[in-house]
Symmetry: C2
Subunit: 422 residues, 2 copies
Amino acid sequence: MTTTRPWTLAERSARMNPSVIREILKLTESQSIISLAGGLPAADLFPVEAMREATARVLHDAPREAMQYAASEGYAPLREWIAAELASHGMAVDAAHVLVTTGSQQGLDLVGKVLADPGSTVAVESPTYLGALQAFTPYEPRFLSLECDDEGVLPEALAASKARFAYLLPNFQNPSGHLMSEGRRVAVIEAAQRAGVPLVEDNPYGDLWFDAPPPPPLAARWPEGVLYLGSFSKTLVPGLRLGFMAAPAPLYGKLLQAKQAADLHTPIFNQRVVYEVIKDGFLKEHVPAVRARYAQQRDAMKLALERHLPPGCHYVVPKGGMFFWLTLPAGIDAMALLPEAVRRGVAYVPGSAFFAEAPTAPTLPAVAAPQGGAAGFGAARHPAQANTLRLSFVTVDAARIERGVALIGALLRETLEAQKKA
Amino acid sequence: MTTTRPWTLAERSARMNPSVIREILKLTESQSIISLAGGLPAADLFPVEAMREATARVLHDAPREAMQYAASEGYAPLREWIAAELASHGMAVDAAHVLVTTGSQQGLDLVGKVLADPGSTVAVESPTYLGALQAFTPYEPRFLSLECDDEGVLPEALAASKARFAYLLPNFQNPSGHLMSEGRRVAVIEAAQRAGVPLVEDNPYGDLWFDAPPPPPLAARWPEGVLYLGSFSKTLVPGLRLGFMAAPAPLYGKLLQAKQAADLHTPIFNQRVVYEVIKDGFLKEHVPAVRARYAQQRDAMKLALERHLPPGCHYVVPKGGMFFWLTLPAGIDAMALLPEAVRRGVAYVPGSAFFAEAPTAPTLPAVAAPQGGAAGFGAARHPAQANTLRLSFVTVDAARIERGVALIGALLRETLEAQKKA
């Protein structure tokens, strides 16, 4: 318990530490370096004109309704739209069980609040989304990292977890970029049902496929056992903070009450504007344009990696999403190399940030040290994760991707040479 | 622990129950009755034209920045504006310690997350804001109701509380309408400092004064011991969900991390739009218009109450804000009378909803029973609170206020007559 008179902090706050990634991003923003570290979508693809028209329409047609307090559940027509959209992916969802959230990050917070007891086991992929670890951490669960391969989580690991719930990102996972195969989905659901482990399925990237749409969501295969989280951040814009969840009926009431307690409701203006943008099929034209751009830059990064990486690096070419995930030769510590990479003009995110047991801030100049010490969330890095890193290919153009990857490749080659000599 | 296979809910979720007020509001919205139950600001005063201009300007000047991910702390110029505004009220706040929140309801959630341990004592006024009870409840504190009089909380009650923190609304409190006097503020701060009880000061209504501005905030008198919450919901519009907190330095980092975990950041579009609306002094003209309207309707309700209430009712005429708080003759149960009041065409909020020990849903037809049973938050009403109710004067015009209060007055007279006969 931390006391700074007259204040005493809750014990859970000792586990809440700054995001490693946000600290890295702050550093890279202040310098003219090639940042492959970001997790931001490409802003030049934002549909500015459609947003202009939609805001004007909302402020003309229903200005007062759009600025007044509103229902905690969300804007009814938007919830209907979401239910229909999910139905097109094979999910039988009643709009009454759709909850609009202030970004899907809030969905994660509500999941933690309603489902995680202190000491209860929350199973996560290895690696997993850092934001989910941050959202769940204040509720003090015990994180259990499930072994994964290039097709996703191993069903036997899930079955053995005895977890309160397992948190999975089957589509173009952040950070690994992995796509859970059809066969793996079947096996994962079977294992989860057998073991009685319910699933929280997070799907921010599913629409950003390059070659073929991903298989149907896990929630389509086990409606009562899968809580589904979605987002408009990657298909439209993130700055309006609009996400949603589709919850099994027995959970909906409590999630709604948690939502009400958290911020009363998601800004109704934002909900109405996004609904105006998307209601007549806008995303059917817009999302393919995003896909095309990201696919092109994925190709550029693939080429650059083939050209510049030293032997011994492993990666799977992502079939969608925003990220390449690199496993470097054993003995290379991506966190330790980052300051030199930044000095040379390129940034990435060290992979250790994405493991439940891992996150510590790198010892970069001008990056604040994590507050609260080494308790829980900030514990020592697992050495086996040190040789991984994440590269984003969406906000940097092909030429800069080539240059950035070349810089990383040269640094890795030099490091390997120096290791050989030592 | 509730289990609905395969799901197991967190123990804290048993305490999270539907808002009594929201359930009442749902009922009243579906019928053509005079609702004095609402807590909504008057929508016809929303500055639609200013909002139109501001959104157009934001979407012209910085469309991509307004739609991209943004800093968890909030939009820097808005934070500067807030710091300057608070300075004009006597608070010496660095913009670096201002955190923009998704409505001040989120501020309450973050306060609970960072400060309240299970079983720790959180002291609240009696009555207090229901939304704060809802926000704090998931963190499982023990609520301690502090005795209050018409000038606010009693300093000796605060001093004796030994609370982790005390949550106070000094200006035109929701629901009581009370204004904490200058002398009481001095005494409260003295008592809090002496007892080492820090304060969370919530000030959504402070700008809505009718006769004279309220005394300086508690935070101006004890900067390191008071965490201050503010909101644009009552001075501008609530539907954009824009609030803020000014936190003592040792708390800021943890609150920021809790904010990041909760929803990454408050919609940057909303922050930029509101900043565009207010940056050149708009509120200096707009808020007086809100004040004038609300003052006029306060007067209408005062007149109606004088005319229609039976003897034995107590109320203080509010000097600002949105609410009258009525104490009825002993033996009258406002919750029990509500169904008949609604049948006759008028709605109010029974006062028992606003006591920490109290909230239960009324047994109205078509109102869902609270889920989760009587645990914690849903415990039995304190009988001493049964004879209180809250009336809002802001969304109903003078003629309907007169009619609504007349209906309530008649019902109370009949009830008292019946009691005498029995």
